[in-house]
Assembly symmetry: C2
Homo-oligomer: 347 residues x 2
């Protein structure tokens, strides 16, 4: 679990020793972070901005598998996943709190590695760890992170603001994180069958990175600001494009029409999907964990995103009565579903 050869039991430090060790590694960089770890609560100066807040819990054996996820990557990803939710409100994350429960199989060095990853993400995104809790668990590792962000009231972007006719836009490309997971699961199965086998991860750097070290799209929020582009609705893609597009439509009281040929997928995602006998479109629609941003814009904002390598217009919002539709490459119309892609595959 740890790359270090030293093993220090947590009991040797005690709770306060551990808090002091963590506190000593954390530096506050945000002017709005008035007080961090070490009091009953952290103190934040909102600086006349609205605050957004989001929480995610990650459970070992449910959300991650430490047999192939290094703790450093896990820490990084745990932070990024939360920041992604803040960006999806068109807000800038500023603070996080971190609650950890660990069984006694984790030495101090494991916590250090987890914090290495969390602090790396915090540094990259300009976020402060201002508080938290570290305690024992009976089994495994549980991480609960709460992120706070700030935003001007008029820029807040909810899921329910889309209008009929708005264009549906997605950042980056989709399906890569899911294919990265397939590679990792395959190599784990090989390893379990033949413990001396070396995992074959070559040629899969991009999709492995998408799975193991995802990034939140801060750059997209910055671009929207530069483009003076206010999305009417926005969500981040954690569960897959289909599910998130349907959330935007449902919350906005609309239907949505997606075009398969417009869905951005990386060439390595496509080739790996083929290798696994999977449909790349299915991976993009239902794979999840891509942490791209999906948003709607007014039609007369089209010029602002047209031709951008960062954005793909993949469909548009419709009247509610039209439901959730996927138009395939041949022009065939299918009902969009969040799970059970089978109906489409069988046609």
């Amino acid at each position: 679990m740890s790359t270090s050869s030293t093993r220090t039991e947590l009991s040797a430090l005690g709770e306060f020793g551990l808090i002091e060790r963590i506190a000593s590694r954390v530096q506050l960089s945000q002017k709005s972070s008035l007080r961090g770890i070490g009091d009953d609560a952290a103190v934040i100066d909102p600086e006349a901005l609205h605050q957004v807040i989001t929480t995610d819990m990650l459970v070992e054996g449910v959300h991650f598998d430490l047999s192939y996820v290094p703790l450093r990557h896990l820490g990084y990803k745990a932070v990024v996943v939360n920041l992604s939710d803040v960006y999806a409100m068109n807000a800038q994350p500023r603070q996080i709190t971190v609650a950890l429960a660990l069984s006694n199989r984790f030495p101090l060095e494991a916590i250090d590695e987890l914090y290495d990853g969390m602090l790396l993400a915090c540094k990259k995104y300009g976020v402060d760890i201002v508080g938290g809790d570290t305690c024992s668990s009976r089994s495994g590792l549980i991480i609960s992170i709460t992120a706070i962000g700030a935003v001007q009231k008029e820029k807040i972007t909810y899921r329910n603001g889309a209008k009929d006719g708005d264009l549906l836009v997605v950042s980056g490309d989709l399906g890569g994180a899911y294919m990265g997971l397939q590679i990792l699961e395959r190599e784990k199965a090989v390893f379990q069958g033949t413990p001396n086998a070396q995992p074959d991860l070559s040629g899969h750097d991009y999709i492995l990175g998408r799975q193991l070290k995802p990034e939140a799209r801060k750059d997209v929020i910055d671009m929207l600001q530069e483009l003076k582009l206010q999305p009417s609705a926005m969500i981040d893609i954690s569960d897959g494009l289909a599910s998130e597009a349907m959330h935007l439509a449902h919350k906005s009281g609309l239907g949505v029409k997606l075009y398969e040929e417009k869905i951005p997928t990386d060439p390595t995602t496509i080739s790996t999907a083929r290798e696994f006998n999977l449909d790349p479109t299915m991976c993009a629609l239902n794979g999840g964990e891509d942490y791209e941003l999906l948003f709607t814009i007014a039609q007369n904002d089209f010029e602002k995103v047209k031709g951008s390598p960062h954005f793909s217009v993949i469909g548009h919002m419709t009247d509610k009565a039209d439901g959730y539709q996927l138009i395939d490459r041949q022009g065939g119309q299918h009902e969009l579903k969040a799970q059970g892609w089978d109906a489409f595959l069988k046609k």
Copy 2:
């Protein structure tokens, strides 16, 4: 685990069904809660106040034992514990987020009971549940709550503001929650030896209430406001008076002197402690979970708390060189310790 005879598996609802069920039970009462459950993040209007934020994680088998803690009480206490940290900053809690991980031994009815308790606490303290996460665990129940509060900048009360000579004041009485726990542990042991035995909890209502359904001292914060009393430092008592008094002293770069005879203890705490052959003072100093507020005030504010049934002046801050002292009823001086009370007991 559930008092209801119905058992509905969580898998029958699915993740989104569960979120919608929880969302339907939650109502926003705070004007500052602009958006609650159901978007990528909740949105809070700080209304020109500073925000405080605190997180606690509770793990089954580590922090609570469901063999004698009803889920409703657990939910109530999980919220109260967090609010207590907000009050300890002299702030008013306004929002919480709730992250839950549960194994499949918990049916939907168990989540409902847990939320019953959480919502009861939220209603009592005027706090909104604005977000969260519910997921699977491999074993047991884990609850992570983050509380947000609001406070005017000049009223924020840190742990490190105490001055040499300041009076040390505590609200309520101490040691009761610890004695309640002893009763529960004793009856559990009896029950395990003789499964048909009825637990004997009679006559222990007060201390059982202190353990099972603690309250956070919102009333104290309101009183401080009415008294125009600004504490120089404050902390809530979760780990025991000794530990918390030492925190205030350490953070403020001071020493502290505590008088045993001034420590407030309820008569039933004293009688139960005697029954268990425990020193009531030890229970107050090291028992923990009382969730009273411990704060320091300037000497010339003494008149504001003098004679109040809610406050006890139990000591004062000293020069750092004087260390942490406990003066016993006979005037003997002892080094105050956060744990290992043995040294004092042996004298």
